[in-house]
């Protein structure tokens, strides 16, 4: 199979590493190589999870066929390279939705499994793996196995959230969520500070199918953590005055054709943006209808928005803190951030429910905060190490799909089920054929052979 050697990166555009790309177009050509390899779907993990410096990267983008849609039961079977953007128009018009969706639809189905992604409904529906009925995994020896919560269950729970390190995820079967319309009914509430924001996310009277909060990271003092809590559910037919409630307008995506200069996003411009955004969104006091694209995927409207952070790229720092320590821990994180005079253009807070069974899955009951931090200088990395310490002190962890820099020691403390995961990895891939820049950075697998 022909290969293409070139530097690639994840969505954060850091790090940039030279990898040997291979892009099978036939299902039969999707197989492990004799060198180390990692599968890469849309490359939407932020750091080095889909990179394999000086090693093989298998692009799954051409293996994107939807194989079966049971429109009565709401079950979809597809090749792992298919994107959520391709799946959505097909299932929505038949009255189904993704049971769990991340904040972009430009991710592959395989990536959703490998990172065990979560959405704004984790506190009700759990992570993506909860809805995976079964998957086909290609092992290091080239054999294909079906695995699920009942078949090869150990391999299944090592694969969901396993960052592609157990094998190539080739096919995935998921259970869909029934919907009546393509619209969302959204309700915003403005919170003056972090405590109030927490209370809103916890309040059963306000809670809905989906909840998420936007935080103004630049607000400080009494207003630290001020933000907007956004609740939503799939609208019913009575909410929508439309004879074809399952149709939605096709929106044209704009794209950012070049890198913006890094100085454009500075504390002043971000602070201005945040003030306007807070003021504008806080005014929405009554529930309103929104199409699902605008609600779930606002950033997808601007393709290549990662170029906004300039040539040096950015790091997304996403951590979760347990319920009991979350308020204290997040206050400490936000204080550290504002003391560093670094600001995040995007800061999102979500509530997590019960922990799933994925051994390396990120979610745990509590609260998760995501920050986008442009890389201007090396100082950012020492700040992030400080944030790691706060997260560890409060019993939390960082999200591997977003990570580009956590230390192996911190990782092992954050993921207590790692040892159990490694036993399964060693059993099915003793030579550590499946290896990525992330797995070597975390000392999970050895060096490139």
């Amino acid at each position: 199979m022909p290969t293409l050697t070139k530097p690639i990166s994840g969505w954060g555009r850091y790090p940039l590493q030279t990898c040997e790309l291979e892009r099978p177009e036939r299902y039969a050509d999707l197989r492990p190589t004799t060198t180390t390899l990692i599968a890469r779907g849309q490359g939407r993990s932020y750091g080095d999870a889909s990179l394999n410096e000086n090693g093989r990267v298998i692009l799954t983008e051409r293996l994107d066929r939807m194989l079966e849609l049971d429109a009565k039961q709401g079950i979809l079977k597809a090749e792992a390279g298919v994107t959520l953007a391709d799946i959505l128009p097909v299932i929505v018009k038949q009255g189904w939705f993704l049971p769990v969706t991340p904040g972009t639809k430009f991710v592959s189905l395989g990536g959703c499994v490998a990172a065990d992604v979560h959405g704004k409904n984790h506190h009700h529906e759990g992570a993506f793996a909860e809805h995976v009925l079964s998957l086909v995994l290609i092992l290091a020896d080239g054999s294909h196995i079906n695995c699920s919560a009942t078949e090869h269950a150990d391999i299944f729970w090592a694969t969901v959230g396993g960052m592609g390190l157990t094998g190539i995820i080739a096919e995935v079967t998921i259970k869909l969520l029934p919907i009546m319309t393509a619209q969302m009914m959204v309700q915003h509430h403005a919170a003056k500070n972090l405590k109030q924001l927490f209370q809103m996310l916890q309040d059963p009277a306000l809670d809905d199918q989906y909840s998420v909060a936007w935080i103004d990271c630049l607000a400080s003092g009494n207003e630290l953590g001020r933000g907007i809590a956004m609740f939503a559910h799939h609208a019913g037919t009575s909410d929508v005055h439309n004879s074809t409630p399952l149709t939605s307008k096709h929106k044209r995506s704009r794209s950012l054709p070049f890198n913006l200069p890094a100085w454009l996003l500075n504390p002043l411009s971000i602070s201005l943006f945040n003030k306007i955004y807070y003021w504008k969104e806080a005014r929405k006091k009554r529930p309103f209808l929104s199409d699902y694209d605008s609600y779930f995927y606002p950033l997808d409207a601007l393709a290549n928005w990662n170029r906004m952070y300039g040539k040096r790229g950015f790091v997304q720092y996403q951590c979760v803190l347990p319920e009991a320590t979350a308020l204290e821990g997040l206050t400490a994180l936000l204080k550290e951030l504002s003391a560093s005079r670094r600001s995040s253009f995007l800061a999102v807070l979500k509530r997590f429910g019960a922990q799933g069974k994925g051994l390396l899955s990120f979610p745990m009951p509590g609260y998760t905060l995501a920050l986008d931090l442009p890389i201007r200088n090396k100082g950012l990395f020492s700040l992030l190490d400080k944030l790691d310490n706060i997260v560890l002190q409060h019993g939390g962890r960082v999200y591997l799909a977003k990570d580009a820099r956590v230390s192996d020691e911190s990782f092992k403390n954050m993921y207590p089920r790692y040892e159990e995961w490694l036993k399964i990895k060693n059993k099915i891939d003793p030579a550590h054929r499946f290896s990525s820049s992330l797995s070597r950075r975390l000392n999970i697998t050895g060096s490139v052979k």
């Binding site: 022909p2 290969t3 293409l4 790309l21 892009r23 099978p24 177009e25 036939r26 299902y27 039969a28 051409r62 994107d64 066929r65 939807m66 194989l67 079966e68 849609l69 090749e79 391709d86 097909v90």
Partner: protein, 245 residues
């Protein structure tokens, strides 16, 4: 308007893009190639995405003896066939093609096989006075170059055959369109050095289907290849023979 379209060599990336564009406008499809597992995956995908009927069957361009039986089966399954897309092609290894046995394979799949199946299609459409034949040739067929002249000769032969067929079928109202793709982002070109302005197979597929609404007979895709090839074709031979292309 929904029709029934036969796609020969349906597992290539361009063919997949073309099949999707036909399915998107509501056409039912008959997909044929040498790889049944792939055909079934592509067929399933088209059914799920577009809700059209998709049949598939094995087809080997080089096995010309099997073509009459194959085509009868297509006509039986599809009832009213509206058109055919010939998308198969074998680039082969040009170095190895210095050996006649390899060159012969390239010629028999790209040219002889194409003539065999297209003759059957032409004879089917001519008396019906309707239908279309879209043949995927190549810019490589416009001028012989050391890097792929066996493939180029076979595709050049195909271009001439399509041209003659167009002339023959014009009075019957059967459209014959020659498509000459430039660099398309497929398995054939992945990793090759020196490519520029590579087009996505999905876009090329849409453009192929769109040619049916236009009057052009020979279509370069993407369109700017018409000008590139115009220049290449007009380089005097005494210069061209010295060039490394």
């Amino acid at each position: 308007m929904s029709g029934n379209v036969l796609i020969l060599g349906a597992t290539s990336a361009i063919a997949r893009g073309t099949a999707a564009a036909f399915a998107a406008r509501g056409d039912n499809l008959f997909l044929a190639s040498r790889d049944m597992d792939e055909l079934q995956r592509i067929a399933a995908d088209l059914r799920v995405r577009y809700g059209v009927k998709v049949f598939c069957a094995l087809f080997d361009a080089a096995a010309t003896d099997s073509h009459p039986g194959f085509f009868q089966n297509v006509v039986r399954e599809m009832q009213e066939l509206s058109g055919v897309v010939l998308a198969f092609g074998l680039l082969g290894d040009q170095q190895a093609a210095r050996d006649f046995s390899v060159a012969e394979k390239i010629i028999s799949s790209n040219f002889t096989g194409a003539v065999s199946i297209l003759s059957l299609c032409a004879n089917h459409f001519e008396p019906l006075k309707r239908g279309f034949i879209i043949g995927l040739s190549s810019v490589a067929g416009d001028r012989g170059r050391q890097s792929n002249y066996v493939y180029g000769a076979a595709k050049g032969g195909l271009s001439l055959f399509l041209q003659g067929l167009r002339n023959r079928l014009y009075p019957s109202g059967v459209r014959v369109i020659t498509i000459k793709p430039g660099f398309v982002d497929t398995a054939m070109t992945f990793g090759l050095p020196g490519l520029f302005l590579v087009a996505s197979p999905k876009t090329i597929g849409q453009q192929i289907v769109r040619t049916l609404n236009k009057s052009a007979d020979v279509v370069y895709l993407p369109g700017f290849w018409r000008y590139i090839m115009l220049i290449i074709k007009h380089v005097p031979e005494f210069i061209f023979k010295r060039m490394k292309m």
